[in-house]
């Protein structure tokens, strides 16, 4: 990274970097540092999950028995997200193949990359649409977070005078303090909601990449934007890989 041997500075190289290699590796390092904080952020949600599971383990089993979350929808979403991850990876690969000096080959690869990016964005939208159907169904039956939970088949007892929720109501009006569906659905909405938000942001940046590619940007020595968005997108996928079984599958 020394500046002794002078060489041309391409327009996309920032003034404070000596070489593209330095710029790209810095960008990638910065992105990984960002992914680290993303992981730690989600770890809080997973810790909340562990704690709730520790206190109200029965509830999670009961949710499965009552089949309150649609496994088919969750499964489809998983497949969709994995596929989008593949297309994203392939898009990055295409970017890596674009030669620095413009020619037919560079155009070809850039076009492939754009297509793959758009496909990724579309798949992400499919994921969101399916999520929308899941949410609206829960809104309909009333399996909502905390105070708003009002699911008739599995009601919880609210103490009007103090606003406390004491536990689920069993047959004969017995109150079961160790059953807390309202907290389960708090977790469900907070975790999938946060993840969904990341998907929405992902769609945005991926389309932004496609736009830049259309403007003829990116080549094999200047593709760290694509690579970093790729990393981000894979992380979103990574989170879902854990979220899906924890929410939809385990007893």
């Amino acid at each position: 990274m020394s500046s002794e041997h002078a060489h041309h500075h391409p327009h996309y190289q920032a003034h404070h970097f000596h070489t593209m290699e330095q710029q790209n590796s810095s960008n990638k390092l910065g992105m990984w540092a960002f992914l680290v904080q993303e992981l730690l952020f989600f770890s809080g949600l997973f810790m909340a999950y562990i704690a709730t599971r520790y206190f109200y383990g029965e509830t999670f089993t009961e949710v499965q028995e009552r089949n309150l979350l649609s496994i088919p929808m969750g499964f489809t979403n998983t497949i969709v997200l994995l596929t989008s991850s593949l297309t994203m990876a392939l898009a990055v690969r295409e970017a890596q193949l674009i030669p620095t000096l413009e020619n037919d080959e560079s155009k070809k690869h850039r076009k492939n990359m754009m297509v793959l990016l758009v496909v990724t964005a579309v798949l992400a939208c499919v994921f969101l649409v399916i999520k929308y159907f899941e949410y609206s169904h829960k809104l309909h039956v009333g399996t909502l977070p905390g105070h708003f939970y009002n699911f008739a088949e599995w009601p919880v007892y609210k103490d009007e005078s103090t606003g406390r929720i004491l536990g689920a109501i069993r047959e004969g009006g017995i109150i079961d303090v160790e059953s807390a569906p309202h907290i389960f659905f708090s977790l469900y909405f907070v975790m999938t909601g946060t993840h969904g938000l990341h998907v929405v942001i992902g769609v945005g940046v991926i389309l932004w990449l496609a736009l830049r590619a259309k403007r003829g940007e990116f080549n094999q020595e200047n593709y760290s934007a694509v690579e970093n968005v790729g990393l981000y997108w894979h992380l979103v996928d990574l989170i879902w890989i854990f979220l899906f079984p924890l929410m939809y599958l385990v007893q």
């Binding site: 810095s26 960008n27 993303e38 730690l40 809080g44 909340a48 907290i183 907070v190």
Partner: protein, 544 residues
């Protein structure tokens, strides 16, 4: 240390301050030096606001009988805490001094991501606006710790405060990852990790904590906001949540964050103590390593804030044991600094006085941590004024005196002006004495069992609280004197030479004030940061 110094003179005309004109050229600059200056001004003004709340609190406690209403007092100490922690102490040294000095020390043109750097400043401003709004909206009375269930149910404007802290967290995260990338990728040729100035080692350790711990407080605050909004019942026992779980979430960040505050201070002291005793730092690797060690161990001691919170007694014992582990690297640092003075040529200038003051204050802060880390004695001292005094000695005293030392140290480089040495020394001593007068009585009051966050107290604590308040007012005045010193220097100060203290780190190798892109040509790092010419290398007793 560098070959670039020759080039300093002929560019003396233009520098980063006068290169561009107009307010926009500041608010939209990507120049790390200007961003650092803007951070410093904002942080100092918020320190003023937080300080005013502190004065309000001390005024209330002058006398046992209440003058403010309970609610106003509770809001005062909450805002004092929240502003000081989230707006002042966390960004104090990394964002202001760090931003200005780090690339210069590395011999780089800028940080790795200049735009991101500006963005994190704007995020900081946005977050601070939320806290200002909280002020306008009647304040918040939860204490800066936001413990549930109180914070989930009180009728003050908690949400805006939480949102503010949440946003500020991201400012700190982005600064952290920016510095990590910069230190890894932008070091000048020849600057190996072993030639890295210790200030940068400290900033490096700090940045690691920032990206690893801050996201957890972010998610905690989000969950708490949702708790208030939807009543999700994860932290609120009324809905089946667990308040102790919240404390785990909170302290997993909020203990490491005290190292985000203090580690850069350590770094500053390592620089000022060597440069003013014209001597190589004692045990370079030990100090560098202990920074990283403190950062790492600091992550597994958070439970010592919760010995009495109803967490598992067994876990409390484990946390207590690990906590003592942090004492060792800290002791190593202090001993090494003092050993650095041995047979040096020590200047008695303003910066050095602040450095000595720091060592005194931090030693007290560190040592009083021991009875708090010990289970049985913490049972008695927890949540009393002993704790208040302890964390003011470490967090506030340590950080503030190091920050002032750093500002004086790099003042000529930042402004191109010198300040009045005599006045500087007098104010330094004034600040030091009044500071101790403020907090030593609190140790005594606390040991006698005065709980914290009391807006009125029993007669037997009267004398200690009175002394403390007097000290606090004096300390406030002394800080205004320091501010006056700086303003005077800006208006009347004589022009600063390129390298007033004879420093060897690269920031002294460029013009004063630095030019826009820091260096005329890429400096090459040839020797270590502390190989001062005065060192008599033929001296028989050498290293090891």
């Amino acid at each position: 240390m560098s070959s670039a110094s020759s080039s300093a003179e002929h560019s003396a005309g233009t520098n980063y301050l006068n290169a561009k004109k107009g307010i926009a050229s500041w608010l939209l600059t990507v120049d790390h030096k200007r961003i650092g200056i803007m951070y410093m001004i904002t942080i100092l003004s918020f320190f003023l606001i937080g300080g005013l709340f502190a004065m309000l609190v001390r005024y209330e406690l002058l006398d046992a009988a209440p003058t403010l209403t309970a609610k106003n007092y509770n809001k005062a100490f909450t805002l004092h805490g929240a502003i000081m922690v989230f707006l002042v102490l966390v960004p104090a040294i990394p964002a202001s001094i760090g931003n200005f000095v780090l690339p210069l020390m590395l011999g780089a043109k800028d940080v790795a991501f200049p735009k991101l750097n500006l963005l994190s400043f704007h995020i900081y401003i946005l977050g601070s606006l939320f806290l200002v709004y909280t002020l306008a909206a009647g304040g918040v009375d939860t204490g800066w710790t936001f413990y549930t269930p109180y914070s989930a149910n009180t009728d003050t404007s908690v949400i805006s405060a939480l949102a503010g802290a949440f946003i500020l967290g991201f400012s700190s995260i982005l600064t952290g990852l920016n510095f990590i990338a910069t230190i890894h990728k932008m070091r000048a040729p020849g600057m190996t990790w072993r030639k890295l100035p210790l200030f940068l080692w400290a900033i490096y350790a700090t940045s690691l904590i920032q990206i690893l711990a801050t996201p957890v407080i972010a998610v905690t605050l989000v969950l708490l906001m949702v708790e208030r909004g939807l009543g999700i019942g994860i932290f609120d026992p009324a809905l089946g949540g667990d308040p102790v779980l919240f404390q785990h979430f909170f302290w997993f960040y909020s203990h490491p964050v005290v190292y985000v505050m203090i580690l850069p201070a350590f770094g500053v002291i390592s620089e000022t103590i060597t440069i003013n005793s014209r001597k190589h730092i004692f045990g370079y690797m030990a100090i560098a390593a202990s920074s990283v060690a403190i950062a790492a161990v600091g992550f597994i001691v958070w439970g010592h804030h919760m010995f009495l919170s109803g967490q598992s007694e067994a876990l409390g014992a484990i946390f207590s044991f690990i906590t003592f582990g942090v004492a060792v690297p800290t002791a190593i640092k202090v001993c090494s600094w003092i050993a650095t003075l041995y047979k040096g040529s020590i200047r008695w200038n303003t910066v050095m006085i602040y450095t000595i003051a720091f060592l005194w204050i931090f030693s007290i802060g560190g040592l009083t941590g021991l009875p708090l880390a010990t289970l049985a004695t913490d049972v008695h001292l927890h949540d009393t004024y002993f704790v208040v005094a302890h964390f003011h000695y470490t967090m506030m005293g340590g950080v503030l005196f190091a920050l002032i030392a750093a500002i004086h140290h790099w003042w000529p480089k930042m402004t191109g002006k010198m300040f009045n040495e005599t006045a500087g020394r007098i104010f330094a001593i004034f600040a030091f004495i009044s500071y101790n007068l403020t907090f030593i009585p609190q140790f005594i009051a606390g040991t006698r069992g005065m709980p914290r966050r009391y807006h009125e107290y029993l007669p037997q604590f009267q004398d200690m609280q009175f002394l403390s308040s007097i000290g606090a007012f004096a300390f406030g005045i002394s800080l205004f004197c320091v501010l006056g010193l700086w303003i005077h220097s800006l208006l009347k100060g004589e022009k600063a030479p390129q390298n007033p203290w004879g420093g060897l780190t690269l920031e002294w190798a460029t013009a004063t004030p630095p030019i826009e892109h820091n260096f005329e040509e890429q400096p090459i790092c040839t020797s270590g940061p502390y190989d001062f010419p005065e060192i008599d290398v033929k001296e028989p007793m050498a290293a090891k």
